[in-house]
Amino acid sequence: MATQSNNHIDVVPKVLLQQLIDVLSAKGYRTVGPVVRDGAVLWDTIRQIADLPIGWRDEQAPGRYRIEQTDSTRIFGVVHGPQSVKPLAFAPREPLLMIERSQGRISIQPTMPKSEKVAVLGVRACDLAGLAIQDHIFLKDAYRDPYYRTRRDGLFLIAVNCTRALATCFCASMDTGPRAGANFDLALTELDEEMLVEAGSEAGREVVRALTCAPASTTQTSEAERQIEACADSQTRQLDRSRLPQALYDAHEHPRWDDVAARCLACGNCTMVCPTCFCHSVEVAPDLTQTGSEQSRLWDSCFTQEHGYIHGKNIRPTIKDRYRMWLTHKLASWIDQFGTSGCVGCGRCITWCPVGIDLTEELPALLKSSTQIKEESIQS
């Protein structure tokens, strides 16, 4: 877990939090926050604090998400919905190019997204960690994606440190939460009456300067600290990474893959909700008159038939091949490829799997040796 930062921490009475949205608006930001819709929370434009799910709470379990209104006054009582911040930078459908043919000439026009300043209010630590991974994929090294860059540059990230863990959370064991690490402009911690505010960037400090706030007292900061610690301690799921990546490579022929393949629908939901999954395909849409063609990037998934197709052959024909590929990449080869785990412990793949496949249950089962499995079956 990220340790307590040395940044200066201010306090704003919750009743004055509207100021934050107003200040951001004056600076040209559209504020986006979690809004209750269709039985969950989704990102949407908010104009006032009352647009946020005040008093609502989410309960999550494998294959199950429920949200309910309580008499609590907590503004950020809902931990998260199906969306991480991923769609705000890596758009599910991104038009890339428009190709036009006119009088025998072909012209190619990139279709860049409109650059827009968007303040995202209520980003969780796991999602910041996920975004850092996406930044690495889309913006580091030789190939920098201008579409992602345009959207990402406009984001002002307001994190909320978690003080309640879901049954599906395991960020503490992934060192990604429940406290927002780096990569934020502001980080809030919600107490009963006040909101602690910590700036993590120059842009964040500028916003804080425009707010009516005071330095937080030691009582307040240690209360916030206590609640964040308690949140970490309350997490019931965990993922033991000590033997990764090698142990998962060694488990390539493990019988457990067959068991999980019998349950897996290959529907791709886990990859869609994952904050780090970055696979995409390019769709070419020519018009009937053959004078124009639009190319768009779409979210794709390694669970589809098309994804495993290379020249003349599908290299991942079965569900077993696909689940094994996904989990091995996420938890093992990602480390070799990018230097971090591909999992940030948000638990979305557990919740939004229609049949509730739980990677924190699959990994330990996959790492059991055949002798261990035999011994356990004898004992039972």
Binding site: D38, L42, I67, G81, P92, A266, G268, L288, T304, G356
Partner: protein, 282 residues
């Protein structure tokens, strides 16, 4: 279509002829062609619509370059007629669940058609009907199949565009879930406990039903593989088990989920039959 307009805007030098045939169906897929609205003029320019009784009383004789077939085979006469359609067409595509999978009328495959006839008609002896409703591909070679009840008009347009450009048509075969997530829909199964067929159903509709907060009922047929060719049948067994154990559907309800518009396509058919057996065993 006036000659002058056609000549001035003609892009392809040869206008392939198009014919649209109807078998046992509701005409909804043919209407999807007419619903192309914005693209209908361009379509009329790119193709020579030679035979389309639903749209025009001018019906020219074949052969045709492209034939679209709507509907399933349910009568001895149609079983014969489809052979002549095949002979007249260079390239033939089925449009919609009836032609591609047998349609909702394939529910008769589990029933007693003679009994239905006696119940409905005062003189059943005049009714010539087969005991089954079968997809076109069980009778003739089909070059491409469009799924859906009705078909998605953008998919239809895409296939025709590809054909005109000389490209092998190809449509995605993945689950509806991927489209749902791209659209930012909340999963109705996970968030509301509604038994949704999206995870095992082929994409193409634009996730219309889940976008309206209701469950997918599989009108685009099974995702990915069917009975032949690449791909694997969707894991209907796991989803059915979740409907039963997780969402508490009784076996006959699980059976009915899979026995719908595309109920006679193998993955869905076998799943419903397994639950029929399960129901009998109770």
């Amino acid at each position: 279509m006036s000659e002058t307009k056609r000549d001035s805007q003609l892009v392809t030098p040869i206008r392939p002829t198009l014919a649209v045939f109807k078998f046992a169906s509701c005409d909804g897929c043919q209407l999807s062609i007419l619903n192309l609205e914005d693209d209908l003029l361009a379509l009329g320019q790119a193709l020579d619509i030679a035979y389309f009784p639903e749209a025009s009383s001018e019906m020219r004789e074949g052969p045709y370059d492209i034939a679209l077939v709507e509907g399933s085979i349910t009568t001895p006469e149609d079983a014969h007629r489809i052979l002549s359609v095949r002979k007249q067409a260079t390239w033939l595509m089925t449009i919609g669940a009836c032609a591609t999978a047998g349609g909702i009328q394939a529910l008769r495959n589990w029933g007693d058609v003679e009994a239905f006839k006696r119940t409905v008609y005062p003189s059943p002896q005049y009714i010539q009907s087969l005991s089954t409703s079968t997809p076109i591909s069980e009778h003739i070679h089909v070059d491409f199949e469009l799924w859906g009840c009705p078909i998605n008009k953008a998919q239809l347009l895409r296939v025709i565009t590809d054909l005109l450009a000389g490209v092998q048509p190809r449509l995605p075969t993945h689950s509806v879930c991927i489209e749902c997530k791209r659209r930012g829909n909340v999963c109705v199964m996970v968030a509301k406990g509604i038994p949704c067929l999206g995870p095992v159903t082929r994409t193409g509709c634009g996730a219309i039903c889940p976008s309206m907060g209701r469950d997918c009922y599989g009108c685009f047929g099974p995702a990915e593989g069917l009975h032949e060719g690449p791909g694997l049948p969707p894991n209907t067994a796991s989803l059915a088990k979740e409907f039963h154990q997780g969402l508490r559907l009784i076996p006959v309800e699980v059976l009915r989920r899979f026995r719908g518009i595309n109920g006679s396509v193998r993955p869905f058919r076998e799943e419903s039959q397994a639950w029929e057996q399960n129901d009998r065993d109770r």
